[in-house]
């Protein structure tokens, strides 16, 4: 399994995650939608820490910025940060059972949202609805199935 193969898989799964992220949904469901792209970046940072998770995070973040970011580079920074943290702590996360992994992912999503929140504030986009934090919870809840699907894709493509 070379790094190129892993990168290909990263790009493909990220593309699918992007489609799920921008798929138009009704308003009430949209609030609950987990940040699939962030989960994908987290998964690859944890499971293939040497394959360039930070670069993946940066690239995915730029794409997210184009689709829904107020400022270019906002999601890129947030995703690079959590990809770095996840890559550093990958051994600790990988050895945990699914439930504890979910808790750690919840923490990662909180960090991600905190960074976005701070940048939103600094760049003058006063968006203070508490609903923006909701996706951290749903993201942590769907982490086990998402990780299972991603690892299945890993096995299939090899």
């Amino acid at each position: 399994m070379t790094a190129t193969q892993v990168r290909l898989r990263m790009a493909l799964t990220a593309l699918f995650a992007l489609v799920f992220t921008v798929l138009p949904l009704p308003v009430w469901l949209d609030v609950l939608r987990p940040a699939f792209l962030v989960l994908t970046v987290l998964y690859w940072s944890i499971n293939a820490p040497r394959a360039g998770g930070i670069g993946l995070g940066f690239a995915c973040g730029l794409v997210l910025d184009v689709f829904q970011g107020p400022v270019l580079g906002e999601h890129a920074l947030a995703l690079a940060i959590i990809a770095y943290i996840a890559g550093r702590e990958h051994q600790r996360v990988r050895s945990k059972p699914a439930f504890q992994q979910s808790l750690l992912v919840f923490l990662g999503l909180l960090i991600y949202e905190c960074v976005l929140f701070a940048i939103d504030g600094w760049t003058g986009h006063p968006v203070t609805s508490p609903l923006r934090w909701l996706h951290c919870l749903t993201g942590a809840l769907v982490w086990p199935p998402v990780a299972a699907v991603l690892s299945y894709s890993e096995g299939r493509l090899t």
């Binding site: 138009p24 400022v71 270019l72 580079g73």
Partner: protein, 399 residues
């Protein structure tokens, strides 16, 4: 992406570039990008290209809903189609009845204002655009439409539907454009209460179809059911287009400001098409952007100093108020009559926070506290300092 490929071709267990180093590079890069995008607006071209490359994905993502719509339409029953046909016929007849009197009224209005002939409509050209994607959360309310720079769409263009104002374009790609809705919490539109002529600002309410009017004093003459139309200030929207209807007015004895909410007239949920509008330059009801240059020069903004044309007389700005369809608040004899009451709170500070570049009118006004009495309405404030025009401005033929 130099650092992305540092470990290319090596086995996964080998040593790639140090994660800390890569992290530093990417963070610095994102911060630089953010700075350039936010402060200097250097990245317009980059955004343009990125938007173009994102367009296929957005189209693909939208294809299931649009396929479903198409399927539903093609299996619609004959009765439904006939009913719709009958409804449209009736609607067309009603509109024709309305339009019959329109020409006569426009002519009469022109005569009353001392013009030789009736004004042409302020909308010069329009273009239907299909909605590709809708983001409607409480945080962001944006549309993606399938018209872009190749169709002549520009940043800060007004977007309407058949009921009222929808929003303005924020990012324009070659084939697509992003529209910020007037209900987005980051959007503000300068409005006028149609019944009283009171001018204020309607800020997006943060839920799907409501706006807030946060700068009205508790004694302002506004009540539930009032129609809000665009006031023509701010340099983006022309004068006199319906925006919203006041839905609730809450006055608290200890609060200096009234809490007013309004419901937007346009219905994004049920629409699949919106209209992009180009407005006639120099029309009295057109967005008052040219006149704002004068204010910039007087306030000494060095960035606005090298003007190629002399600042236009303030009269042209005052005259933007009486529209073709508004209850002309000023007596016909005094064209410079001040707006009806000094209690109109903050007409000087229409702050569309989203598009500072398209609305240079706002920069001097940002320093004034919205809602304070120290900020008088724009027009009477400017009027004494301007050289009086030799001709009453209303009698000038329009370009």
């Amino acid at each position: 992406m130099a650092a992305f490929g540092t470990a290319a071709g090596r086995p996964l267990q080998g040593r790639g570039g140090s994660p800390g180093f890569r992290f530093t590079v990417y963070s610095v890069l994102s911060v630089v990008i953010m700075y350039l995008d936010q402060r200097a607006h250097y990245l317009e071209r980059v955004r343009y290209v990125l938007q173009a490359s994102a367009y296929p994905i957005q189209l693909a993502v939208n294809s299931p809903p649009s396929a479903w719509r198409w399927l539903k339409e093609s299996f619609e029953t004959r009765e439904a189609l006939r009913a719709e046909n009958a409804r449209l016929h009736q609607q067309q007849r009603d509109l024709e009845l309305l339009a019959m009197r329109y020409d006569a009224l426009a002519h009469e209005n022109g005569e009353l204002r001392g013009l030789r002939e009736a004004l042409p409509p302020v909308a010069e050209r329009w273009l239907a655009a299909e909605i590709i994607n809708i983001q409607q959360s409480s945080l962001r309310q944006r549309l993606l439409i399938d018209r872009g720079a190749t169709n002549g769409v520009f940043k800060g263009q007004a977007v309407l539907d058949d009921r009222g104002l929808i929003g303005q374009t924020t990012h324009v790609g070659p084939w697509s454009a992003e529209v910020i809705l007037i209900t987005d919490p980051e959007h503000a539109v300068p409005v006028r209460v149609e019944r009283t002529g009171l001018r204020t600002i309607a800020v997006g309410g943060g839920d799907v179809s409501s706006l807030a009017l946060p700068y009205l004093p508790a004694n302002a003459d506004v009540k539930s059911g009032d129609l809000l139309v665009t006031s023509g200030l701010g340099g983006v929207f022309p004068e006199g287009y319906p925006v919203a209807r006041v839905s609730e007015v809450h006055r608290d004895a200890i609060q200096p400001l009234a809490q007013v909410r309004a419901a937007a007239l346009s219905h994004i949920d049920s629409e699949t098409e919106v209209m992009l509008v180009w407005f006639r330059e120099g029309h009295p009801a057109a967005p008052a952007s040219g006149a704002s240059n004068a204010a910039e020069v007087r306030s000494g903004n060095p960035a606005m100093q090298p003007l190629t044309v002399p600042p236009r007389p303030a009269a042209s700005r005052v005259e933007t108020a009486p529209p073709h369809a508004a209850p002309a608040p000023a007596p016909a004899t005094t064209p410079r009559a001040a707006p009806p009451a000094p209690r109109s709170t903050a007409p000087t500070a229409p702050v569309p926070t989203t598009a500072p570049t398209t609305t240079p009118a706002q920069t001097p006004a940002d320093s004034t506290v919205p809602g304070s009495d120290a900020a008088p309405p724009k027009a009477p404030d400017d009027a004494p300092t301007e050289p009086p025009p030799t001709v009453p401005p209303r009698s000038r033929p329009l370009p």
